[in-house]
Symmetry: C2
Subunit: 109 residues, 2 copies
DNA sequence: TCCTTATTTCAACATCTTTTGAGATATTGA
DNA sequence: TCAATATCTCAAAAGATGTTGAAATAAGGA
């Protein structure tokens, strides 16, 4: 992940609705969720959800596939890993020290 | 780190100048750097740098102290760790799998 | 006290982002 | 083909953020 991709990822995650969408899709797992189901979970209008889903997809944090009439969105786990690695390596330089315990626990959870 | 703090941190890091300031201050270490020195390194006007430094300080990612005529800014490492932990635990749920190797390496570097 | 250096504050402006609602497109089944 | 469902696109309005340059504040030294 380079600086530009990281800036895009941070911008995506700095918006409440989008951060919640990412968390929802991470929990939903690889099967993902239809755009409409995401909208219902957020209580947001279809155009609003579509705007935020596009934003997240453009940033590479989620991906989509069509399935019948629905468009199914799912998390792109490597993008999230990449962002974490960017923060740890390029940004924190190993100085920010999230305890190795926490780190392993989170990694293996 | 709660959702609101994370949103603030992501917003702070989604701006090029601010992301670079954080990286600069992380490298600078606990002694930090004067606002003017940060401005020189960025090639930015004093009011611009002041605006972004305030933004980062408000978000808790950096802190300041006065030293004679200068105001010295330095990274708040626990805030960066907190953000990494937020991403790994609350957001990724252990599914984004930054390889444990990478993870340990980064953590111990 | 006055001057210099370091930094912040402020208001005006420009730019970017988000929301809204209406209409367009795509898919399926009758 | 028509109707229904699911989603996207678009333009306008609203809101938030970033930039600029000038003026204000704070500290130290002559």
């Amino acid at each position: 992940m380079n600086e530009l991709q990281a800036l895009d990822a941070f911008a995506s995650l700095s918006q409440e609705t989008r951060l919640r969408i990412v968390r929802l899709l991470v929990i939903a797992g690889p099967d993902g969720m239809a755009a409409g189901a995401v909208g219902d979970a957020m209580g947001a209008s279809s155009s609003k959800i579509s705007f935020h889903l596009s934003h997240l997809e453009r940033a590479g944090l989620i991906q989509s596939r069509r399935e019948a009439r629905s468009i199914i969105y799912s998390a792109v786990y490597p993008a999230l890993s990449g962002l974490i690695e960017f923060l740890m390596k390029d940004c924190c330089q190993g100085r920010c020290d999230p305890s190795v315990d926490t780190c392993s626990t989170a990694c293996e959870a």
